[in-house]
């Protein structure tokens, strides 16, 4: 686009962000500070993710952007169009065709490959933030690997609710060393992060942090020996494609309380329907 550098950010900024990314990859799960720039979208809409994507995007990349699993929501559409205009890269909604996937709140159901990079938008990179308000203290805790406090939170959950009540942004241990916030993906997606062949980058624009999980790195969800981690999903089949193994959204379809459970990953659902799978459509009774 006339008057703009390739992929919007100037080259010096990209170099700075790439240096942060390299450091983040070298120390899996460690939060690396970076000079987050003002981006033409508000904080909370993916300013961190968009900067990471801008820095790693090449002219021959194919970009996919998802928001809560969907390719067609405002956030996904505008970021995809942003890069189509400022970088002229090809865009796609197919997980398998993409080389770079920027995501908010989901990991695609289709397993990712070694030649793909997934970029997560992160609102709060510090997994201990709700337990210890001081950044000085949490940095010391990360440096010394003192994560007893996180287990106190899990203990409290089990004592109060009989199970760990964290359903998204479920804390994980990366490479057996750093405690990491996996961004607000459902706990259902946590097992996908473990030993994923694709490179995983996390960008938090407002909090000015970048962290990463290199390919094939162990990512373990925290738990107790006698209360092991469980990936939770709604006990239904997708109303459109009939899938029973993927993460579902609950959609209210009329003003009489009728509900529909559908795959949150729209690409996964469409691919399955093209392959001939079908669900009980919008009949929630049958979907039980």
């Amino acid at each position: 686009m006339e008057g703009y550098n390739f992929a919007y950010l100037d080259e010096q900024t990209k170099r700075m962000i790439r240096r942060a990314i390299l450091k983040a990859v070298a120390v899996p799960g460690h939060q690396v500070p970076f000079g987050s720039r003002e981006m033409p979208l508000p904080y909370g809409w993916g300013t961190g993710g968009i900067q990471v994507t801008a820095s790693i995007l090449g002219a021959d990349d194919t970009l996919k952007v998802i928001d809560q699993g969907a390719d067609d929501t405002t956030n996904a559409v505008s970021i995809r169009r942003f890069f189509a205009r400022t970088a002229g890269v090809r865009t796609t909604t197919r997980t398998a065709e993409a080389t770079v996937i920027q995501t908010r709140h989901r990991v695609p159901e289709t397993p990712l490959r070694e030649d793909q990079i997934i970029v997560y938008q992160v609102p709060q990179p510090e997994p201990l933030s709700r337990l210890e308000p001081s950044r000085v203290q949490t940095k010391i805790m990360h440096a010394l690997g003192e994560y007893g406090l996180m287990h106190v939170k899990l203990y409290e959950d089990v004592a109060r609710y009989g199970q760990v009540s964290i359903s998204y942004d479920y804390p994980v241990m990366v490479n057996g060393r750093h405690l990491m916030a996996p961004s607000p993906i459902p706990a259902f997606d946590n097992p996908k992060l473990d030993r994923m062949p694709a490179l995983q980058l996390f960008g938090a624009g407002r909090e000015k942090r970048i962290y990463a999980v290199p390919p094939f790195t162990s990512v373990r969800s925290l738990d107790f020996d006698d209360h092991p981690f469980r990936a939770i999903r709604a006990p239904h089949a997708c109303g459109l494609c009939g899938a029973t193994d993927c993460y579902l959204d609950e959609v209210v379809v009329d003003d009489r309380g009728k509900r529909l459970f559908v795959c949150s990953d729209t690409d996964h659902c469409a691919t399955r329907r093209e392959a001939g799978h079908s669900g009980a459509d919008s009949l929630p009774e049958a979907a039980e």
Binding site: G148, L149, Y155, A159, D223, F224, D225, D226, H227
Partner: protein, 259 residues
């Protein structure tokens, strides 16, 4: 650097805050399983000494040596911060005068007691909970209150909860800063009784800072009197209190109101 058989030895400790001298050539030893009381008036350097001994405040001069469970002698102020923090989490404990400084007020009693266990790597919920319940019973808190928040506890209960939280990892050395301060007399007596029996049963060495001679007489095996940052008299508790030599100690002992 460390006296034979001693758990913790300090030599030549000096510290001043600007023109104010807080410690002047202070030295002490503590042996396993003994209770050492540090007494003196406000501003005599008792709490500063405790902070220096526990590694929280670095002295201008002098050394503090500790014999760890493995038998190795370590210099408390020369060891790296992670090792010192690990020591504080495992073999040491610190009981504050105000339990709110040590407890997590928005975490249940069970979680408070279990935190040190989890920090040491305990990952079995059932075991952590059983241990927490056992410790609540030990400090005379009803085990049914395990899921209650500390803010619903009375002052005496908070202090006992803090003691349970500190002793759950069975430390060999516990620092106590005025553990009975701010409690009313009957609660104080019960707490002293509890501390005395626990310390004897678990064979814990205690460095106890107090301004209350009665507390020292009840708990301590040995006593150390401080004035203006110097140790002026030290000896067996009964010996020092019944036959004080230093004029200041004589004043201190004679100023205790007879009950």
């Amino acid at each position: 650097m460390i006296a034979p058989g001693a758990l913790l030895s300090a030599r030549g400790l000096a510290l001043s805050f600007g023109r104010i001298v807080a410690l002047r050539d202070a030295a002490m030893d503590i042996w396993p399983g003994e209770v050492l009381a540090i007494v003196g008036e406000s501003g005599s350097g008792k709490t500063t000494l405790l902070n220096v001994l526990s590694g929280n405040v670095r002295p201008d001069g002098g050394t503090v040596a500790y014999r760890s469970g493995s038998g190795a002698v370590v210099d408390v102020h020369a060891m790296p911060a992670p090792a010192l923090r690990a020591l504080h989490r495992s073999e040491w404990g610190f009981v504050q005068q105000d339990p709110r400084r040590n407890l997590r007020m928005n975490v249940s009693a069970g979680g408070n007691v279990g935190e040190r266990l989890m920090a040491q790597g305990a990952r079995h919920y059932g075991n952590i909970r059983d241990e927490a319940a056992r410790w609540l019973e030990t400090v005379e808190i009803d085990a049914s209150r395990i899921d209650d928040l500390p803010r619903t506890f009375s002052g005496g209960m908070l202090q006992r909860l803090q003691i349970a939280r500190t002793l759950v990892t069975r430390p060999s050395l516990v620092f106590m800063d005025e553990p009975t301060g701010g409690l009313d007399v009957s609660v104080q007596a019960r707490l002293l009784d509890l501390i005395r029996s626990l310390v004897a049963r678990l064979h814990i060495a205690v460095v106890l800072v107090t301004h209350d001679i009665a507390v020292a007489r009840l708990l301590a095996d040995r006593i150390m009197v401080m004035q203006n940052g110097s140790v002026i008299e030290t000896g067996l508790t009964d010996q020092v209190l019944d036959d004080p030599h230093h004029p200041y100690t004589q004043l201190l002992v004679s100023s205790v109101l007879a009950a």
